[in-house]
């Protein structure tokens, strides 16, 4: 896909119901803008996010995927984000190993009270993904030419 002036990234944000989704709501009710490229999918907990969802998003054309959950220690289910943290740490490290550009994936802990953080996070994430341009490498990890 050629990079054009008007190119807009597709960004999927998985947000846990208890903290981050509420943080996104707070960003909304506080009118803290972030790019419309970000589309939020609600999950009960960050630990519900299967690496397959993330890879699926990339395969289907996403240019960036971000996962937001409660701060470690504050998980509504007490431990979910700790598992998510390990899973994503390993997944991201693997993506890096495969030569996928750093910056297309991110995990951020956003509480229900952090509307500002939510908005800032999304702004900086989108900026990073825009700088990287359209996703090619993660579209096909079989890496066929």
């Amino acid at each position: 896909m050629p990079v054009t002036e008007n190119w807009k990234p597709t960004i999927v944000a998985f947000c846990c119901n208890w903290c981050s989704y509420a943080g996104a709501d707070l960003a909304g009710s506080s009118r803290l803008a972030y790019p419309a490229d970000v589309k939020i999918i609600k999950v009960p907990c960050s630990c519900r996010v299967n690496p397959m969802f993330i890879l699926r998003a990339f395969e289907k054309g996403a240019d960036g995927v971000i996962l937001c959950g409660c701060h470690p220690g504050d998980c509504h289910y007490s431990t979910g984000n700790y598992y998510a943290r390990r899973r994503m740490t390993l997944l991201f490290s693997m993506l890096d190993y495969l030569g996928v550009e750093e910056g297309r994936t991110r995990v951020e802990w956003v509480s229900a009270a952090e509307g500002v953080k939510f908005s800032e996070t999304m702004n900086s994430f989108v900026e990073k993904v825009r700088a990287l341009g359209p996703n090619v490498r993660l579209g096909d990890l079989r890496c066929k030419n």
Partner: protein, 319 residues
């Protein structure tokens, strides 16, 4: 080898085991493949030599469904796989009689760089020789045993079995390489080089599923890729997803469970170094969450089903 057959016959005859799981001669000595032996006579086809690299532990899942005990021969590294299956309740220890066999390193026919191979001698156990003699259509060649060894044997986990009922035969120390050297070499590459490397390797994949079928950790009754568990619409839709993401998802599914037995790379008909995915996860797990060897014991918490409150954050140390 003979002592294994003798012992197997003995156990069969005594009725202590109902069948034997071992390796069977192929057309060539180097064609040894896993086989069940139901009778003492059939054991005449039993073989144990340098080409018996196949890890038999996964076959014990099926064996567990049959009547009576199964005698299985496990090399030291195979015993880790068996233990991991035991931990995951996939095999029934009660229905297994495990003979831990000695191992002096296993060979890969693909590593013998001669055309028209007819016969390889010197790979016989227990008298494996330092130099293999290879008869080819074009004459006789020699190659040091070590040079024909599987990659995994150069980074062998050790001579000890982690689970067994009895032990037979000696093992040799074959380690002469750093297990993570190749992973580190790739890690040091630029993203472009990394991508180019994996692109050239993975584009060879023909999706034959040999890696999945041989992997003791890939033992799901029904693989996600064969089911509709993740379909959003129809099967045709997921095919491309499966095609494109197969290896990384497979590696993730076995992360923290893979014993690094190396079977995936051994059986890949395209010679893709698939173990490099698993070993990357193992290296990260060791570095981030403490040394962990899957299959080494049945109790200690597994890296992906446990945590500490001070774990590293995703992405730390990247780039």
């Amino acid at each position: 080898m003979q002592e294994l057959i003798v012992r197997a016959k003995e156990l069969l005859e005594k009725g202590e085991v109902a069948r034997v799981l071992g390796w069977k001669k192929g057309e060539q000595e180097y064609d040894a493949e896993p086989a069940f032996f139901e009778t003492a006579e059939s054991l005449d086809n039993f073989v144990y030599n340098g080409f018996c690299g196949a890890n038999l532990s996964k076959y014990m899942i099926e064996a567990g469904k049959k009547e009576g005990k199964t005698l299985v021969f496990l090399k030291p590294c195979d015993s880790y796989s068996y233990n991991q299956l035991l931990r995951e309740h996939r095999v029934d220890r009660e229905k297994a009689y495990i003979i831990g066999v000695g191992c002096k390193g296993k060979l890969a026919i693909s590593k013998i760089p001669f055309d028209g191979i007819l016969k390889v001698s010197g790979a016989q156990y227990p008298d494996a020789q330092e130099i293999l003699t290879v008869e080819t259509l074009y004459g006789t060649e020699t190659i040091p045993y070590k040079d024909a060894m599987l990659e995994r044997c150069h980074v062998c986990k050790g001579k000890d079995h982690v689970v067994y009922d009895e032990l037979l035969g000696e093992s040799a120390d074959t380690v002469d390489a750093d297990r993570f050297a190749e992973v580190e070499r790739i890690e040091k590459m630029s993203p472009e080089e990394k991508f180019a490397y994996f692109q050239s390797e993975l584009s060879k994949c023909i999706r034959c599923n040999a890696c999945r079928n041989v992997c003791p950790a890939c033992s799901c009754r029904k693989c996600v890729f064969d089911s509709t568990a993740f379909d959003s619409e129809q099967k045709a839709n997921t095919t491309s997803f499966e095609e494109k993401m197969f290896h990384i998802i497979r590696a993730f599914h076995v992360a923290g469970r893979c014993t690094d037995c190396g079977e995936c790379s051994r059986v890949c008909p395209q010679g893709i170094p698939l173990h490099l995915f698993n070993r990357k996860f193992i290296k990260d797990i060791n570095a981030l969450y403490g040394e962990y060897q899957a299959g080494s014991d049945l109790e200690c918490p597994a890296p992906l089903t446990s945590f500490t409150t001070t774990d590293a954050e995703p992405g730390v140390g990247r780039g």
